[in-house]
Each structure stands twice: as C-alpha cells, then as structure tokens.
Symmetry: C2
Subunit: 119 residues, 2 copies
Amino acid sequence: MKVAYKIWIDQNGKAFGDGPYELLKGVEKTASLHKVAHQMGMAYSKAWRLIRTTEQRLGFSLLDRKVGGKSGGGSKITPQAKEVMLCYGRFREEANGAIERIYQKHFSSLNTSPKRKRS
Amino acid sequence: MKVAYKIWIDQNGKAFGDGPYELLKGVEKTASLHKVAHQMGMAYSKAWRLIRTTEQRLGFSLLDRKVGGKSGGGSKITPQAKEVMLCYGRFREEANGAIERIYQKHFSSLNTSPKRKRS
C-alpha cells in the first residue's frame, strides 16, 4: 500500500505540472527543445504543443527561440519561465515530502495489520 | 492561479480515493448503495463495480450486503471499511491543508506580480 498523486498548477485549465517542468529543465541544460523531447522519448510536436499550451494558460512566454545562426538555432528559457520553475521545483519537493509524511502518519497502523478477505 | 491535485491510495493499482470514500460515507448514512449512487448521480452498476474493484485491490470486504428481509435488504460497511475510511478521511484533510499551505508559500510572490505576455 502506498500513496499516489498527481499535482499541478491550474490557470484556465491545467497550466503547469511535471511535464512542462521537466521539458524546461532540459532546455535549460541543453538549449534545445528538440534534444530534450528526444531524450524524454516524446515527439517534438507534442513537446512543442505542451510548451505552447502552457504559455497560453500562464499568459507569458517560456522559451526564446533562436532560428538559424552560427550555432544552428536553439531555445533559451525566459526569466519568467525560470521564476515559475523555481517556485514549482521548491513547491513539488516540499509537497512530496509532506504528502508522504502525512500518509505514513495516518496509514502506518493500517499497513501493519492487513486483514485478508476470507475466500 | 491555484493548485490542483488528485490523490489516492495505490495497491495493485488505484485502490482507494475520493470515489469509494464518498460512496462508503453515503452507505454509512443511508445503508443503501442504491440510494447513494442515485444521490451522487452515478449509475448503480458503476458504483457497484467501483466498490468491487476497491475490495479486490485492498484485499478485504467493504460492504456487508443483506438481501431481502423485512427492511428490503441494504448494505452495511464492514469494520475494515470503517478503519480505512477513518485513515483516509484524516489523511485527506491534513494533506489538503498542507498542499494548499505549501503552494501559497512558494507561489504567493509569483501570484502578486503577473507578467503578461506581450501580444
């Protein structure tokens, strides 16, 4: 028995969760949404739509896209994206810990004495 | 902007969440899964399947069913159901509060200064 959950930020619908967070963390590292989508086994078109929808719901840009140039283009996260990633990353970490702790507090006694159904 | 989440107990799959909890709370009050399903706008067959799946995943019975008799049958929650409901109810209440508090802690500064996308 264990606790499970999905958690996200809602604004005009599902606005920001683990998906966009992981994509943006990857872009921060690699400067390429193409690379990150590939690494995550996600179609580029899907990654792009996810970022686009997230931008629309949040109301600000997440990626600055450079097209072409010497380095062949790429993406950079915006300062606003960085800010929301910081908030979300800290929020997720603390929420993960709290949910697990509260689950243990209320369910540990139930866990130790499973009552099987007669069959 | 607000936080949103789904939370449940996993055991061999999604085992116990708000759905079974609300159904069982209703049966505790009305002694009838029929009545509760109707009140919740849920088909009886769906309510019954949900209880059945939950029992299979948890490994114990949740409802004692009386068939016929002077009162025309009905359902009673089992002691094990009562136990898991108590754990879950307390867990949910504390987890709700914690998630909201942690969200406010990390996102309140972002909320107060929305940066709109230029368009």
